[in-house]
């Protein structure tokens, strides 16, 4: 790299620092998909309007996802010399009062979550002191949700404007690339192997080994593909990284290009993520302008360019050979491996496919060293993993934790446990390919081996919390309907096996189950697992097998007693009112979609069974706990059929 380019980068870094720590207040509004859905655009506009009408000189920045999605919309304010204050759940009406306080040099305390007194730039290790903790506020890092976290892959998410390459560089971005370009590819690959980084998209294959294979696959045309086809329902860390910090992924890819000798890169993003397509496309254009992509990257002679390919709505395209078929313009059907894509991939050429989160870690490993990265986590599972902590849990969002933390650390500490005082029943990891871990096993560590031993998997990092009101049979029926619908149909075990399993589960949830169904389910599940063509089919029945292992009694209640203990399978429950507990408030009547609540103002209520849709709305809303459900009795349940 030329001296001139080094000076250029230094200049860009200064520009970025000037935006991140301006001499006037910086107001950041989290505007990734979650934030937008929760109304952040309205707040952003209101803040912009108020700034203008009041003539306040402040810098308004749209930032990415800070992770605490259930508390969106989130806003933060950094005034020079003061701590950064974070807010949750502000509305447009708060814009005026917030800015009044800011102009008066005061801290607006309404809806304030906490404050940051210093920033830690993970790449450089640099700490920037902001200001003392304001009175009445605790540190953000002290919040249950953030306390166990180590944010490596998500180091910039929520901190920077994803549309500003300067802010990325300001936080140490593209330093790793600068160093990588002056180092031998083999040396960098050794560093990545040393880090222990494994593919974070689900399969957990050692990244360094994959790179080494692709690097050794001749000197001809090669491709590097970023797999952003995040299809697991319940996992969205890749969307968040692409939307919040797209350059971290690009930088990982460019370093990859240098190591593997690839000249073409593709970011494959699923169709359901329009904002991610926009941010990564914008980042690519910016990188080209600055000479970070193109024919002569950083004046080093390296030539590499990246394009975005949008998926078109097919879960199976997350599988690498299906993804390649999709890019080549064919239906996304997997093919048998070997040959692996690293030998024979896109257009028959060697192709290295890495997941978004994996690539975002690369710059960090290159700059801080494999040993440093490997110091997080456990011996077999190094580093961190981002989990989408979602479902029936108080604090919900993206948590990045060192491998080896326990399920309890994540769900009970960061997540705060189940919401609304309910009892934890299970934690589902790995989406439709994963399994359910019962509440009694929250002590197991989250690493590849322990999770696999429990019958669940790390997978892409979906972690769905389930309370007593989630029916495990219905849950599994949901996953099977998902995979049966998404099976590409190429191989019979997956195509027909999942359909038949779904058929049996449908019967069980409708009250038609027979005790022998459980053995059939187990047998079919093992068959599909053992004989499907691709990874999706091979894991598609994990939810069945793991729930049969831990929640067999719940299946038995459905097939033998025709009763759904969670009250979810509507054919198998009947709702009643306990007259001794009913206070006659009538809240239930207001919420009943079927008009099934009998009894007038102030009187004890009753439920008219024929009009009752068994949705459970009354059960959920009753402040007295006077509504309960029982089984309908075997004969009643059978009468329906």
């Amino acid at each position: 790299m030329s001296e001139e380019y080094a000076r250029h980068l230094q200049h860009l870094e200064n520009l970025g620092l000037g935006r991140l720590y301006p001499r006037r207040p910086r107001i950041s509004v989290a505007m990734a998909s979650c934030g937008r859905a929760a109304g952040s655009e309205k707040i952003y506009r209101a803040l912009g309007d108020e700034l203008e009408s009041r003539g306040i000189d402040a810098f308004l920045a749209p930032t990415g996802c800070p992770g605490l999605c259930s508390r969106e919309p989130m806003v933060s304010v950094l005034a020079p010399g003061k701590a950064r204050v974070h807010y949750s759940g502000l509305g447009p009406e708060d814009a005026g009062p917030l800015l009044s306080a800011l102009a008066a040099g005061e801290v607006y305390l309404k809806n304030a979550l906490g404050a940051e007194t210093e920033d830690h730039l993970v790449i450089s290790g640099r700490r920037i002191s902001l200001g003392p903790l304001p009175e009445g506020l605790g540190p953000m890092a002290g919040l249950d949700f953030y306390r166990p976290q180590v944010r490596l892959a998500t180091r910039n998410c929520g901190c920077i404007d994803p549309f500003s390459v300067h802010e990325y560089i300001g936080r140490g971005g593209y330093r790793a690339l600068r160093e990588a370009l002056s180092r031998e590819p083999a040396e960098i690959i050794r560093e990545i192997k040393k880090s222990g980084l494994r593919g974070l998209g689900g399969a957990g294959f050692p990244t360094g080994v994959k790179w080494e294979t692709a690097a050794g696959a001749g000197n001809g045309e090669k491709y590097i593909i970023c797999n952003g086809d995040e299809g697991d329902p319940g996992a969205y860390m890749d969307r968040s990284i692409l939307e919040s910090d797209p350059h971290s992924v690009l930088e990982g890819m460019i370093i990859g290009a240098h190591c593997l000798g690839a000249r073409h890169g593709i970011v494959y993003v699923r169709a359901e993520y329009p904002l991610a397509v926009k941010t990564i496309s914008h980042a690519i254009a910016q990188a080209r302008e600055l000479g970070l992509l193109g024919k002569d990257i950083m004046s080093s002679g390296l030539g590499f360019d990246v394009e975005v390919v949008r998926g078109a709505g097919a879960f199976v395209c997350g599988e690498e050979t299906a993804l390649i078929a999709s890019i080549e313009g064919r239906p996304g059907e997997p093919r048998p491996r070997p040959p692996y894509p690293t030998r024979e991939g896109l257009w028959g050429r060697p192709t290295c496919i890495n997941n978004v989160e994996t690539l975002a870690n690369i710059p960090l490993i290159v700059h801080r060293g494999g040993e440093w990265y490997g110091s997080f986590g456990t011996a077999g599972s190094r580093g961190t993993k981002v989990f989408a902590l979602v479902g029936k849990v108080k604090n919900s969002g993206l948590v990045e934790i060192p491998m080896g933390a326990t399920i309890g650390d994540i769900v009970l500490s960061a997540g705060g446990g189940p919401d609304r005082g309910k009892r934890l029943k299970a934690v589902q990891t790995g989406g439709p390919s994963g399994g359910c871990i019962p509440a009694s096993m929250t002590g197991i560590p989250v690493d590849y081996e322990s999770l696999a031993g429990s019958g669940a998997i790390m997978g892409s990092g979906g972690m769905v919390v389930m309370d007593e009101r989630v029916c495990m049979v219905d849950m599994v029926r949901y996953f099977m309907s998902f995979v049966a619908g998404e099976s590409c149909g190429k191989c019979a075990p997956c195509r027909d096996g999942t359909a038949e399993i779904l058929n049996i589960l449908d019967g069980i949830t409708l009250g038609r189950g027979r005790p022998e169904d459980l053995d059939t389910l187990a047998g079919l599940s093992r068959l599909v697992k053992g004989s499907s063509l691709c990874g999706l089919g091979q894991t598609a029945t994990n939810p069945v097998l793991s729930t049969l292992r831990y929640f067999r009694n719940e299946y038995e209640a459905h097939v033998k007693d025709k009763f759904c203990p969670a009250g979810v399978c509507r054919q198998l429950v009947i709702y009643r009112v306990d007259p001794d507990l009913c206070a006659g408030c009538g809240l239930c009547a207001g919420d009943c979609p079927g008009g099934a609540i009998l009894g007038g103002e102030g009187r004890t209520r009753a439920i008219e069974p024929d009009s009752c849709t068994r949705c459970g709305a009354c059960y959920e809303i009753c402040p007295q706990g006077a509504i309960y459900f029982t089984g309908r009795g075997i004969s009643d349940a059978m009468d329906d059929h």
């Binding site: 859905a37 969106e72 996992a235 394009e307 979609p593």
Partner: protein
């Protein structure tokens, strides 16, 4: 047709072209598929294969507005089924269908990745957080009969 020629990179070319056709015509007309097959030198069967494999594409016209009820895991446990049922009732079509007047298509989408705000639905690609069956029906009101604007 310039939609076909506009996409020059071989990578993702078929998907990009069909996606643009889909956006323009709200479905993939047979003539468009034939033209693309001819121009790209691909068998028509391959294009039909792609058109029917991916859920983004449709051979029949979709409505002016598309409502996608998210059926991700969390939305499922938080009542996506009720939201969908309420919309089916309000629009008079089953999930996957388009209203007779061609205004709305009701779809089930796999996961919008906004799980912390579940249940969610997207209306023309914009995600609506913590949607209740009642609220989602209300959202459609501005465009209800007589209230249409800008066309």
């Amino acid at each position: 047709m310039n939609i076909i020629n506009r996409h020059t990179s071989p990578n993702g070319r078929v998907l990009s072209i069909l996606e643009e056709f889909q956006r323009k015509y709200r479905h993939l007309p047979e003539e468009a598929l034939r033209a693309a097959a001819g121009e790209l030198g691909l068998p028509l069967g391959q294009l039909f294969g792609v058109a029917t494999f991916y859920t983004s594409f449709s051979l029949r016209p979709r409505g002016d507005r598309t409502i996608g009820v998210c059926h991700g895991t969390v939305c499922h446990v938080k009542g996506a089924g009720r939201v969908a049922a309420e919309l089916e009732k309000a629009l008079g079509v089953a999930v996957g269908g388009t209203t007779a007047d061609g205004r709305y298509t009701l779809e089930s989408v796999k996961c919008l990745g906004c799980c912390s705000l579940a249940p969610v639905a997207s209306i023309d690609g914009e995600v609506q957080a913590r949607i209740s069956p009642e609220a989602v029906v209300k959202l459609l009101q501005p465009a209800a009969p007589g209230g249409e604007s800008g066309e």
